[in-house]
Every structure is written in structure tokens, then in C-alpha cells.
Symmetry: C2
Subunit: 352 residues, 2 copies
């Protein structure tokens, strides 16, 4: 499964705190991950097992947001617990500063880094979310974000809730993979290539690629409710977590400013439709999203000031996408209410 793999994987270390751009260079994501998998058959030594693993995420992060959404859509909350890092970093990356005592209550650590070092005392790469940690050892099993959601969908089926949707239906996988590849290169990672471009030329190439991708999506979604097939799939999850951050962060902070999402009629209605679907918008914390990007990336926002905008009220306005047909959960059902302790701060979302 290489849908999320960029074409080149050249390593760019960000050793200086808050430094994400390299003058004169295009942005290149380090996409070497811990690729150990948690599977039903346990072939990598990590079998699916209720209560054994902890998903460490951060509401700020679009890659982690995918896993938060999928876990909830599939009803895995009872078997796979979730720890949430706060929106900002210190120089050693994600911390559990939102938890009482600044410590994850299950893993007992202050920094996600400790779980990476438990896996490899010389772990050389970025401390990223999402990460799935083996609670018994305290070590990260995988941070391979593209594989994590697929494995939740395909390997954890024995623990899916009744009525869980099939987010990666077998007969649509080829098309989903194709869409995902294009969305990753041009949109999911494309916004970062705009924002972290080290010179004008790299920025302009990234911007043109991004809008080429968004124009293609605008056209595709003008005639169909979801990206692939008649129901929500993995493809929608992946696009959604970028779109929901678009006007709040990418438009200004990353200079993705040809248009706001609100000016793209089909994409904006599509994004609102998903936002209002249980399992999507109820995972989104706009305050944490904005704080993360504007505070952490000091090299593109030296003051660390977090914008008060944009107005978010449009996210809960009618979207009118029902006329395109489609059934979000197919023959399944929406997830129930968000469990206690996992609700987004009502002040941080237009869902209230």
C-alpha cells in the first residue's frame, strides 16, 4: 500500500526548533516510518488485541486526525484507547501537556519521544503522530500513518462496532488508492510544500500543483457526493482532514491563497457535509489546529500570534449535498455520541 508515499523520500532533518523551511530548497517530507504492523494474525509480533495498544494522536495534526476519525467511525474506542498530545511542541516534539500533571495517564510519560526511545534508544527521525504504542512495553509499534487507518479497517474487523461502515471496500480499492495518491501529492502534502517552500520557485510549483489538484476535486465532487463510490471511504477521510484546516491555516499561513475553501462551491459543500457527519466534525478542534501551526512554525510566523479568524459558523450551515444521492454509511449506521473524556472543547468548534 503506497498510496501515501511521496515520490522521493530524501531526508530533511529539522533540528533547530521551529525551523521548517530550508532556504533555496523545496520541502521534502521525511517519509521513513516505523512500518511494523498490528495485524489479526500477528505476523509482525503484534496481534490485534483489545486493550493492548494506545493510539497517540494530536487533534492539531491532519495525519493523526485521520486515525481519530477512523477509530470513531469503526467504534474502536473500547478496544484501542487514545492519548492526545497538546497542540504545541517543545524542542523535543509532542508532549502530553493537556493531561493532568503533564503525563499521559496510561503510558505514564510526559513526551511522546519517550515511547519512540523505548522502541529504539537511538531513534533518529521525527517524533510524529499518529503513533500506536504497545502499552505493555511502552514502545511505539508504528507511526506509519497511511497504514494505520487501513489496518484499523482491515485487521481490526473482529472488534468493529455493529453497523460500522466499510471504509475500504474491496471492489473500490484500486480507485481509492489512485485517488489517494493524487490527493496526497497535490493536496495533503501539497499544502506543506507551499508553506515550507524555501524559495519562490519551489512555492510557485507547489501552489500550481495544489490548485490543479483542488480544481480537479472541485469538478469531481460537483457531480458526486463522495470521492469514490456512494458512501464515505478512506479517501474521504484523507481529503477531509486537509480541507477542514484549509481556511483556518493553509490559506494564510501556508500561502495557499488563490481561493478560500468557502469559494469552491462543491468542495466547500462536500467538506461541510462530512463535517456534519458523526465521526468527522466532532473530532475537529479548530483552536488546537490554529495554535499548533501558528505557534510551532516560528520560521514562518515569528511572532507566534494566532489569528482569531476565520469565522467558522459556515461549517454548520446546510450543505444541500443530499440531492446528489449517496448514503454516508451505506448499509451501516453512524457512530453514537463521542465517549466521555474524548469530546472536543465546545469553545473550540462551531458544533458547540
Amino acid at each position: 500500500m503506497d498510496a501515501d508515499r511521496p515520490e522521493h523520500t530524501e531526508h530533511t532533518e529539522h533540528t533547530e526548533q521551529g525551523t521548517y523551511t530550508v532556504p533555496g530548497q523545496e520541502y521534502s517530507r521525511d517519509s521513513r516510518y516505523l512500518t511494523t504492523r498490528i495485524t489479526a494474525d500477528g505476523r509482525d509480533g503484534y496481534p490485534v488485541e483489545p486493550g493492548r495498544y494506545r493510539l497517540v494522536a494530536a487533534r492539531a495534526c491532519p495525519w493523526a486526525n485521520r486515525a481519530i476519525i477512523v477509530r470513531r467511525l469503526l467504534g474502536l474506542e473500547g478496544v484501542l484507547s487514545m492519548g492526545l498530545a497538546g497542540p504545541t511542541h517543545d524542542e523535543r516534539s509532542w508532549t502530553f501537556d493537556l493531561d493532568p500533571g503533564g503525563r499521559d495517564p496510561v503510558l505514564g510519560i510526559e513526551r511522546l519521544r519517550d515511547a519512540y526511545l523505548a522502541r529504539d534508544p537511538h531513534y533518529p527521525r521525527g517524533i510524529t503522530v499518529p503513533a500506536v504504542v504497545d502499552v505493555t512495553s511502552g514502545a511505539v509499534v508504528t507511526n506509519d500513518f497511511a497504514q494505520i487507518t487501513l489496518d484499523l479497517e482491515l485487521e481490526w474487523t473482529a472488534h468493529h462496532r455493529p453497523g460500522a461502515p466499510d471504509l475500504y471496500p474491496e471492489h473500490l480499492r484500486t480507485e481509492i488508492d489512485q485517488v489517494n495518491r493524487r490527493v496526497y501529492a497535490k493536496v495533503n502534502n501539497g499544502v506543506y510544500r507551499c508553506g515550507f517552500a524555501g524559495d519562490q520557485g519551489a512555492y510557485e510549483a507547489a501552489y500550481r500543483s495544489l490548485w490543479d489538484g483542488l480544481d480537479w476535486l472541485e469538478e469531481r465532487l460537483s457531480g458526486q457526493r463522495y470521492l469514490v463510490g456512494e458512501t464515505i471511504t478512506e479517501a474521504d477521510v484523507r481529503l477531509f482532514t486537509t480541507l477542514v484546516r484549509f481556511d483556518a491555516v493553509y490559506h494564510g499561513h501556508f500561502k495557499c491563497n488563490r481561493n478560500r475553501l468557502t469559494e469552491m462551491p462543491a468542495l466547500w459543500a462536500y467538506a461541510r457535509d462530512l463535517f456534519q457527519t458523526p465521526g468527522f466534525g466532532d473530532t475537529v478542534d479548530f483552536a488546537q489546529i490554529k495554535e499548533h501551526y501558528y505557534v510551532v512554525h516560528r520560521d514562518i510566523n515569528p511572532t507566534g500570534i494566532v489569528p482569531l479568524g476565520p469565522d467558522l459558523s459556515g461549517w454548520v450551515a446546510a450543505h444541500g449535498r443530499e440531492r446528489l444521492g449517496g448514503r454516508p454509511f451505506g448499509d451501516g449506521t453512524p457512530p453514537g455520541p463521542v465517549p466521555d473524556g474524548e469530546r472536543v472543547d465546545p469553545g473550540h468548534t462551531p458544533l458547540g
Copy 2:
């Protein structure tokens, strides 16, 4: 005439190149100007005289844009020449880098600073545009931007073109002054107070004041075509030069991002109406505007990368404001075509 005077005039020196924010402080504009006036009676020693003075402006600058617009609306091009500094600064401020040889062809100088030093060899404050220079001495007469346009309107009347509008009609002056004071504090200077805020609190106060002002304008302009009276006035000129920069610069770069201008129906239609009125949009160079802000303010945009957006095509779309009545030029007429040598690069404007 104090419509454009901020309430406090505390001095903030920006001696370090590209430094506009002061950590922990709100932004405070240095509003001590050279207030010598060019008048019909010459009481300050500088009588109105065709050919004697040169308006030095920069298309990038909203304060200078006011003077460019008023000069053109009144048809003063033949009696008051214009020099244009390029969009970016070096450490000694505005330069004539767009002119052949990097030298203003009339003043013969490379830097506007030289004209300030000709006035005062120890000139201690910022080198600002607009400035009106006495060509005979090469010295700046005034850089008091708020007074410059009023004097063009009231002191240069003998040289106005036939059909020139009355931009500051006597019976409306009290109301125009009141509107200008509010627009200056909340909007014209308000966007700078957002963008150059030195901490979160100063930014948030400025943002709330800005949107309070814009909401008030949105309501006012929902029922009337122009800000004061039935025709274009000085009040419209002053608001226009901020609105035309809003989505291109202030929304993202200055974090004025509750809404884009395009999301404020009355303000957006009003701004388009003016943009399409001869004398307004034909003075606007979006490329120079963007280059100025994004390149010069390195402390808020360290990479110096200039965004490719926003899409500008909407500026030439129908505005529908005719239904509100009003006659842009009253009993007068629009200005003729832009003189040769003063046209905006067709690639830098949606007017083409």
C-alpha cells in the same frame, strides 16, 4: 484637519531592516510629519505652481495611493508630475529602482531619502510616501499624507480639469471628517495594528476593532452607494485604498482573517464599483502591492515568498451598485485615459 491623526503619537523607530513588530507592544504609527503646506496663497512659502512640484508615491503604499487617485480624479497630471518608487525597500527605505538607471528622471536621485535630507540633513524620522518635493530645491515640502489630498482638492482648484469632481464638498465636510476618523482608526491603520502587533493581546484588540469598523461599514454601505453623500468623496478614496489591499495582503499577512472582503457583500460590491470607476482601479498594481508587504516585512514573513493568490478576477465582475442611485462624479465627468508613462503594467491588474 485631524481626521487622520491617531490618538497617540508615540514614536516607534524601525531602525533594524525589516523589523516592524516590537515584542510585547502594540503597534504605534509615528505620525509626526513635515506639515508645510502648498497653498494657493503660498503662506508657508510654497505657492501652488504648475510644474514646480513632484508627487513622489509608490503604487504599493495605501497612503500614497490616495494621492495618486486624487491627482488623477482632479486631472492634475499636467501640473504636478509624479515619481514612483519601487515596491521594495533597502535599508534606507524607498528607492527609484523602477526608473532607468535607478534614478528618478526629474529629481535625479536614487533614494527618496535624499529629498528628505535636502530638507533637513538630520531628518530623524521615517522616509515615507507620499511626499511632495519642490523640484527647484530637490527638498521634500510635505509628507503629511492626510493633508496632501485635501490640499490637492482645495488649494489646486485653479488647475483642476474641466469636470473634476468636488471630493470634499463644503456641506459634507463635517460628516466626511467624522467618517474618516473612524475609518482611519479602525480600518486604514487598524490593519497595521493587527499585522504589527507585538503580542497576542495587542493583536486581538486590534482585530476586534477592525471588524467592528468593517461591520459598521458593511451596514452603512448596504443602503447607500458611497460613504458620504451621493457622489465619490475623499472618504471613498481613503477607504478604497485599504479595501483593495485587503484580500491580497491584510487578510493573510496581517492576520485580518475573520472574513475575506469577498465575503462581505456590500463592502465587496462597493470596492468593485470604485475599482471599476476611472481613477481608482487604474492606479492599482496588485503585483507591487503584494511584493512590498511580503518582501519588506521580513519579521512577519521571513522567507520573503510572495503568495500567488488571491484570484483577482472578481474585481472586474458586475457590482450592481447602480440600483442604489448616486452619481460617481456628480455634475462632473470621469477622468480620461491614464496618461502614457503612468499606466499600471497590464500583467499586474485584472483590468488587463
